[in-house]
Subunit: 148 residues, 2 copies
Amino acid sequence: MKKYSREESRAIINELLVEIFNRILAIEGQNLKDKGIKLSMSEIHVIEAINNVKEPTMSNVANKLGITISSLTTSINTLFQKGYVTRDRDIEDRRKVVVGLLPKALEVLKEHDDFHKEMIDSIFNDLELEKDHLLIESLEKLSSYFKK
Amino acid sequence: MKKYSREESRAIINELLVEIFNRILAIEGQNLKDKGIKLSMSEIHVIEAINNVKEPTMSNVANKLGITISSLTTSINTLFQKGYVTRDRDIEDRRKVVVGLLPKALEVLKEHDDFHKEMIDSIFNDLELEKDHLLIESLEKLSSYFKK
DNA sequence: AAATAAGCTTTGATGTTCAAAATATTAGAA
DNA sequence: TTCTAATATTTTGAACATCAAAGCTTATTT
């Protein structure tokens, strides 16, 4: 395995963050367009976040996405209006609003997951299975770094 | 250490990548605010792209960023007005507009690079060295995947 | 020279995001 | 219990970012 100097490593990661990140949304968006899904990327991300968060209240979902609650509200407004999500007050604590995914959203999620699956498989085809957990550990640290 | 199935690995990596990507712009933006730089992240990215592209015409810069030329035009309008960039017709081919960075922009670029350097160093300090290379290897694959 | 192409800007429209103010509900203090 | 403070969300108003389509200028083709 090639060894990188600290400086080389930094340059590679920098490139990922600055240049490649810009491509991802465009590629994903194009993929949706190709499949005839008429949702924006940020709407897709909202749906994903609802799916991935344990207790999908407005606060939890917004926090998962790294946007303000008010931003999420406007997004949920349209997703609700378009028939992708449910939106109900929590029975236990009626200050909370719990959102949920309707079948329409689950379909979109499936399409998007397939795209990601293909993407990630393509990236990690060469990695041996036993190394996966090391990678996950690294990414978890990266993720927790970005959370603080 | 826990073993993951291929499918579990994929799901976790997918979620972590999405999460990480969602945080980056927010953090970078906050960093600029902390330093009193009154530019948006997309304006920073335009400056970076101008710096990184070989021949900084409108088309080349827009292509580097993955946005349309008309979007870039509006961004350059304000960056020009604020005194960050130059904007001149190419002498050889007067259809082209060549943009360039003024000292003000180079300073911002330096700040931004320092931030990235610090961020990445901080990440690396938490990872054991042996895992650095696995992470880099994976990120390289990601990078090459998005270049095609 | 006339038609076509290339490069860019303008215009009009939509979508995203945030901060601040307003609303609703709950929890705690008096 | 009643008032107050805290929590959770929505509304409002404003700034950006982005795109498609139409228009302008310069280059290339025929």
